[in-house]
């Protein structure tokens, strides 16, 4: 093995770091028109009328499109709520623009298309919308009360679905437990902000009935299907191109209302149409995340063993989107109690609609809420019993010999070695030393705290009847000269999967990585695949790359054997050559073997099929959609996990805290490229810190979003992100041929829990409980003030 496991520099680094990468927003076909959206000023209002007469007089305006003109284009939904019908799941048709009534501030009402961006924006400011303002519902628990305003008029209320997850005999467990505790934790509404906002360019050719669509997307192929189905253009006449993407984080999974609107406008006008979101549009209408409350009771014994728990989850979904945000609280629910063996539980999830921007998929996707809840519980139990927080976790971990471990009706954990990972983290962090430092500092009036968290990051989502599944494809083409072209169904929103794929291909084909070129994100070139989400690129894409490489290598081996007058099984391959095991000086290059396949089909390559091109699909074997005899299924397929330890120092006069040390020991199975994995963890922890400390999307009681710029919605800068010490433990996935698990969402899951744990520990003298984020200084200060009053 030469490349897998090594720190290979990302292929995408030079274009990205030198500013030469071309993004969707850089593409402007001749004759391009520019779109701008008129967005709702109100959270909940019926539209009485729209007057576009003033706007239409702006020079350069080519179209002013209102929702009713898009009635033929209900957006094709890539994920259906139908399987959740037994739990009451509702359906909602979403059109590219508002029809009838607006359901959140920022919902697009009118699309303006003009010769310039400036003309489009000016016209948009002159559209007069006549609103019949309705009372808005902004709190999910208020939304459940009788008489609350209804977000969807034809529903019987605002409850989208009630979903249970139950295991064991929870009442018996509570009956025999020595201790019980109850409390609640709340994760605020926040979301990711890709530095590249969403950008779409639709180029429809009226003569050929052909649509080329450039999109800052995470799923080019599903987007092609969505466009074809929604626009009723044959799918073989639609080409989706995903240029470089400046960050996805789940938030660019299609389809968006604007995405469809841009495509339809190009078809209607016969001209290319382009739209690039502004930052405020991303904050207001790009999809939000989290916003969950968890009311819990936990039963445990004096030895620290947790016997049972009851959890009621209130998830504020905002309105409904075709994007998969509504799955986020479900992911929390089906993965409780995460890495801990709690054999009795009863969880009830209530997903509730409100007049806010809909939930969208954001890195972490509910796993961080599950982690936050379980880790707060662990700390509470430790504190109640006066036990060490590491020991409590060790006591409750699922033991390494329990895998595969079923933790819910929907989830079987693949593999793991949690005690080893946590033990390593304790060593790397120098836990004992920090315990002493903390005590010494306390004597001097300084408040240092140690945070402990263990994250489970389910990856490789596999949702029945959706485009969120674990199969993917790789096409490899070896040219006569031995140069290798790889086309993948997975995509890379800036994080280097192309490089990891090339490492796998180079190793398994036996060529130099310099001879491998990887193409992604073009539906006319690449095999149908599902793009990038749920840490799936190595799980599904990496596995397909491995299978395809091996198959081509074996074909080349046959020809090489004939050239060397040897038997295929006697040949070894490395460094671009086949050689005879016993007589290594007898060798032939892959280039020569490839040439023979193309030039000598009737002699040297007589017993192989001509050509050196192959497409292989890989399907994760451990998903289960047909329920087994117990009625159980398996939804997620890969379970990376990590221990986080950190030290913080709180300034008790201001509530502000500094992170003094941050350690992550991560287990994502076999590491293909440590540099990329660590980059993922750095970014994940940074986003976790943002959510833990400062990011919050705040709505007024009337449903106005108050955080529409980076001034109101700060995100961490380099100064807020500490140096991290990252180490790896490798417990291979038993289900991927490379042994790799996902890693794209690791880091963000554990960071908020770890920081909450640290702040609570720092303030233990005051008896402060940290059950809510973000831990902005004013909130921490308030916790101290309230605790001091007691």
């Amino acid at each position: 093995m030469r490349y897998v496991g090594n720190r290979i520099t990302k292929f995408s680094d030079p274009p990205l770091l030198t500013g030469r990468a071309r993004y969707a927003g850089d593409i402007t076909p001749p004759g391009t028109l520019y779109a701008c959206f008129v967005r709702s000023k109100y959270a909940h209002a019926r539209i009485r009328g729209i007057d576009t007469s003033r706007a239409s007089r702006v020079p350069g305006v080519r179209a002013l499109i209102i929702g009713d003109e898009f009635l033929d284009y209900p957006i094709f939904q890539p994920i259906s709520t139908k399987p959740y019908k037994p739990y009451g799941a509702k359906e909602a048709t979403v059109y590219p623009l508002v029809v009838g009534k607006v359901r959140f501030v920022g919902e697009p009402i009118v699309m303006v298309v003009a010769e310039s961006r400036i003309a489009a924006a000016e016209a948009a400011s002159l559209v007069d919308v006549d609103y019949d303002v309705l009372p808005a519902v902004v709190d999910p628990e208020e939304a459940l009360k009788p008489g609350a305003p209804k977000v969807y008029d034809h529903w019987d209320g605002n409850l989208f679905m009630k979903f249970p997850s139950e295991w064991g005999d929870v009442d018996a467990a509570f009956g025999k437990a020595e201790y019980t505790l109850s409390d609640s934790v709340r994760i605020q509404r926040f979301t990711g902000q890709a530095l590249e906002p969403r950008a779409y360019v639709a180029d429809y050719n009226t003569i050929e009935n052909h649509l080329t669509f450039y999109s800052s997307t995470q799923q080019p192929h599903p987007l092609r299907t969505i466009l074809a189905e929604t626009l009723k253009i044959p799918e073989n006449q639609v080409r989706v191109v995903q240029p470089y993407v400046g960050g996805g984080f789940g938030l660019k999974i299609p389809p968006f209302q604007e995405e469809i609107a841009v495509a339809v406008a190009s078809v209607k006008l016969g001209r290319p149409v382009k739209w690039v979101a502004e930052r405020w549009e991303e904050l207001m209408a790009g999809g939000h995340a989290r916003d969950q409350r968890h009311y819990f009771e936990v039963a445990f014994n004096s030895d620290g063993k947790i016997l049972g728990m009851k959890v009621r989850i209130i998830a504020d979904m905002g309105a409904l989107f075709p994007t998969p945000g509504w799955g986020m609280p479900l992911v929390t629910t089906i993965h409780l109690p995460t890495v801990y063996k709690v054999e009795n539980y009863r969880i009830e999830l209530l997903e509730i609609v409100t007049n806010k921007n809909p939930l969208n998929a954001y890195r972490g996707y509910g796993k961080e809420c599950a982690c936050f809840l379980m880790e707060r519980i662990m700390d509470m139990v430790a504190r109640r019993l006066g036990k060490d927080r590491i020991d409590i976790r060790m006591k409750n971990f699922i033991p390494p010999n329990d895998f595969p471990a079923r933790i819910s009706r929907y989830t079987v954990l693949d593999s793991g070695n949690y005690p080893t990972v946590l033990k390593r983290a304790v060593e790397v962090f120098e836990y004992e030393k920090w315990l002493k430092l903390k005590e010494e500092a306390r004597k001097k009036g300084r408040y240092i705290g140690i945070g402990v968290a263990y994250e489970l990051t389910p990856e490789g989502a596999c949702i029945p009847g959706s485009f969120f599944l674990q199969y993917d494809a790789v096409t490899i083409k070896v040219a006569p000269t031995g140069k290798v072209l790889v086309y993948t169904g997975i995509t890379s929103p800036g994080n280097g999967q192309e490089t990891a794929i090339a490492q796998i291909v180079a190793d398994n084909l036996g060529v130099s990585i310099d001879d491998v070129v990887v193409y992604q994100g073009d539906t006319d070139l690449c095999p149908y695949g599902l793009g990038n989400f749920s840490g799936r690129s190595m799980i599904s894409g990496g596995s397909a790359a491995l299978l395809a490489s091996i198959e081509l290598r074996e074909k080349l081996r046959k020809v090489a054997a004939r050239i060397l007058e040897s038997r295929p099984e006697d040949l070894e391959v490395s460094d671009g050559k086949f050689y005879v095991k016993e007589v290594p000086e007898r060798q032939v290059t892959i280039r020569d073997a490839a040439f023979a396949i193309y030039k000598n089909p009737y002699d040297l390559a007589i017993d192989v099929e001509p050509g050196l091109e192959i497409t292989k699909y890989f399907k994760m074997p451990n998903a289960l959609h047909i329920p087994d005899e117990s009625g159980y299924t398996r939804t997620y397929t890969s379970f990376p996990n990590a221990a986080h330890l950190c030290a913080v120092e709180v300034d008790i006069e201001t509530g502000k805290f500094d992170i003094l040390k941050y350690v992550v020991v991560d287990d994502c199975g076999k590491v293909i490229n440590p540099m990329i994995v660590e980059g993922q963890l750095h970014g994940g922890v940074a986003q976790g810190i943002g959510g833990a400390i400062m990011e919050e999307l705040v709505y007024s009681s009337a449903g106005q979003l108050l955080t529409t710029t980076f001034m109101d919605y700060p995100i961490p800068t380099a100064k807020e992100v500490p140096d991290m010490i990252i180490e790896h433990v490798e417990t291979p996935s038993p289900y991927t041929p490379t042994g790799a698990k996902g890693v794209g969402e690791s880091g963000i899951v554990g960071a908020p829990a770890c920081l909450a744990s640290a702040v609570e520990d720092a303030l233990s003298d005051f008896g402060v409980k940290v059950m809510e984020t973000p831990l902005r200084p004013s909130r921490v200060w308030r916790l101290i003030q309230e605790a001091r009053k007691k």
Binding site: K656, V698, R776, P777
Partner: protein, 301 residues
């Protein structure tokens, strides 16, 4: 020059006319002509984002960056004069300012990020008068004199009177800030600016400027505290008899902080920090700024 030229380059949605005068007189004439419809473009770090967001849409933009005279720092025996186009990084790094008025450099070094500090100007920042901006309390504490010019008239206004309200100053629509004059601080006098920000480079939640002069015995001879970020304009307290002549010790500090807290009647409140928090932080940062300034007065850092 109109900018509505088609294409996608522009992010400012409203058309405007742009002027780049080369002399102060030329700029003043334009201001006199267009008044409320005109905006001065200095570093553009507030004006341009506000135009991008459509918060302001001036019909005329008068770019003063080509007026060479507006970019100097001058020093004479007792006074430093800073022209309005001096960039934040120059103030942060100027040896003259660092030596004579350390807290001014300190304040400048905390503004925004490196890029903002290289574009943004002191004149632009104070004329914008964001209540959370850093210079206002510093200049108020120093009793800086602002030289204001219109076509017909030149006048001097103390920084303590310049800030009228949030985003509102003493400047009339036809006036231009021409210079900032600051008396050098004397012997045994220390200054310090202490800022609470939630994100590095962010606006001040609280920013406190303190000027402390100590006599030969280390007793307080002069004490001025100015607090930014807490109310709509900086709150400046020139301490008198009660505190003067006392030692810098806990009881004195507590009294000073108490006086600051008492002076705050309508604290700003937002989603990041409510009024009670800001008021309490004004006291905490007053303590920190006064202690640091006193230490500097004694020759420390």
């Amino acid at each position: 020059m109109a900018v509505n030229t088609g294409g996608e380059k522009e992010v400012i949605h409203q058309p405007f006319e742009y002027f780049a005068p080369k002399t102060i007189n030329e700029a003043l004439k334009l201001l006199n002509k267009y008044r409320e419809d005109a905006k001065i473009l200095a570093g553009g770090q507030s004006l341009v984002p506000m135009m991008n967001l459509g918060i302001v849409s001036p019909k005329y933009v008068i770019d003063i960056n080509n007026i060479g005279k507006l970019s100097e720092i001058r020093e004479n025996k007792n006074q430093i004069t800073i022209a309005p186009l001096v960039r934040h990084y120059e103030i942060a790094e100027s040896k003259i300012i660092k030596r004579a008025i350390p807290m001014l450099s300190e304040a400048a070094s905390h503004i925004g990020d490196m890029h903002i500090r290289h574009r943004g100007t002191i004149g632009g920042a104070i004329c914008h008068a964001d209540p959370a901006a850093d210079y206002a309390p510093v200049l108020a504490a120093l009793d800086a004199k602002l030289e204001i010019q219109s076509v017909k008239r030149r006048r001097i206004v103390s920084a303590r009177n310049f800030f009228k309200d949030a985003f509102t100053t003493e400047l009339k629509p036809n006036e231009l800030l021409k210079a900032i004059h600051i008396q050098k601080v004397g012997q045994r006098t220390g200054t310090a600016y202490q800022k609470l920000e939630f994100v590095s480079g962010g606006y001040a939640v609280v920013g406190v400027a303190a000027l402390v002069a100590l006599d030969g015995e280390g007793l307080i001879e002069k004490l001025v505290v100015s607090v930014g970020g807490v109310e709509r304009r900086p709150i400046t307290i020139v301490f008198n008899g009660d505190v003067l002549g006392r030692k810098i010790e806990n009881a004195t500090i507590e009294e000073i902080c108490g006086a600051v807290k008492d002076k705050i009647s309508e604290p700003l409140s937002d989603i990041h920090a409510d009024g009670e928090y800001r008021r309490s932080m004004a006291a905490v940062y007053t303590k920190r700024a006064v202690l640091k300034a006193a230490n500097r007065a004694l020759g420390g850092e």
